[in-house]
Symmetry: C2
Subunit: 253 residues, 2 copies
């Protein structure tokens, strides 16, 4: 069973044991979470540490290493999209305040590549490299609305997780919302993720006019969220222009 | 030889084959760069693709996958430092324009965790997850000046790579510069990396007063770079305060 396949799978399980709230774990805890025997986990962790993919802290606890981040980031197309979007995200953030975010679809989730946050911003559940199911947030709804029909049918066919009493939880309401997004080109989600916050999201298109990302802002849920739509639409146009200028990113998906 | 060790090592060699300028590679090119047999490279690439750590493009060419970025980023202390610094880096960028950067030492290099760039900024060689030898740039010099004595002796003892005719290339000048940095708490490097650009860098300390990063700006090489020092020092104090409030980051190194 000591094949190449199983070593990589187990290494991935080890990285999966960490989360934004648990960035530092004991070896025994990693073994417990991965279901690996403690001896197997220890040996694999030692090798990952020797390569710098994991690091050990002062009390032998383990964390994700800088080298792992470097290998993932240096040649990442994910970061190319983020780089193209960053100047516009900054402008948006400067104008709107609160949170400005860039999200992409990965499977049935939105994965947030970047979030700029004002120090006194309204509450927000997303974070960098964080995920949310597509139907929950404004970014996810935009990515779902412009996603493949089979994705929409899959999401519409199953129970929809609820975050607040405003979250979309019925197929009927979700279907109507997706149609509305395609018609008007944006979505506002007052209180869908948290009662105090409203999301506003618009699609970002690549050089081939395909939707490759969602730009969003999170503002207080005070009824004024729709005022952010023009700034978001303008920023999304800027990002699309940058993407058209760098075809390697446009070729993504 | 099909041990767990060699599988991981080979997987790392594959990721190392990519660079910011070559984000998309053919399998044959990966085999050539890694020195792996084409069959071995193909098999390992297929497994990395099956886990989402690599992705295939339309012509079967290979690139780093979004999943790799997610595993590396989600629980990264590297990104925690970057998150603590980000609001201050944005403020700095808004005030100074051009480039604002956050760098950490990794071995004998400075590794840039973040760079904010104005659309019309002066030329700059650093990039996210990019590296430069410590003696070349303002950030590297700061990290070297506050680094362990054995690191300084190691760097001082060997030939110093030259980028421009202003780059520090003698041990004598490097030693004097490091002493000056420790005395004044910042460094200005006019034309050291590129003739048209000047770097200004200051140390960022954690809650234990250890230097854990360098904040820097890159501005035109017109003699006015020293005017940026007060804004940089103020931003570095802000980052230090954020780091003191989150001890897990302060425990790093």
């Amino acid at each position: 069973m000591r094949t190449g396949e199983s070593v990589l799978s187990r290494a991935i399980r080890i990285f999966d044991a960490f989360s934004p709230d648990e960035k530092v774990l004991q070896v025994s805890e990693i073994a417990r979470r991965t279901g690996l025997h403690i001896a197997t986990a220890s040996r694999l962790i030692a090798e990952l540490v020797s390569h710098g993919l994991l690091e050990r802290g002062p009390d032998r606890e383990v964390r994700v290493g800088m080298r792992m981040w470097e290998l993932a980031s240096r040649a990442s197309l994910t970061l190319s999209l983020r780089d193209a979007a960053m100047p516009y995200l900054e402008d948006l953030h400067a104008v709107v305040g609160h949170h400005a975010q860039l999200g992409v679809r990965d499977g049935d989730d939105v994965l947030f590549l970047e979030r700029l946050t004002a120090r006194d911003a309204v509450v927000n559940y997303s974070r960098i490299a964080g995920r949310l199911p597509l139907h929950i947030s404004s970014s996810g709804l935009v990515l779902l609305a412009y996603g493949p029909p089979e994705l929409q049918e899959r999401v519409l066919a199953r129970p929809l997780e609820q975050h607040t009493d405003r979250t979309i939880t019925t197929a009927e309401r979700l279907r109507a919302t997706l149609a509305e997004i395609r018609r008007q080109g944006f979505v506002v989600t007052p209180g869908h993720v948290h009662p105090d916050a409203a999301g506003v999201a618009v699609p970002v298109r690549d050089g081939l006019q395909e939707v490759v990302a969602a730009l969003s802002v999170i503002v207080p849920n005070d009824g004024r969220a729709p005022a952010q739509v023009p700034a978001l639409l303008a920023a999304a146009r800027g990002v699309s222009r940058s993407l058209s200028a760098s075809p390697v990113v446009a070729a993504r998906r």
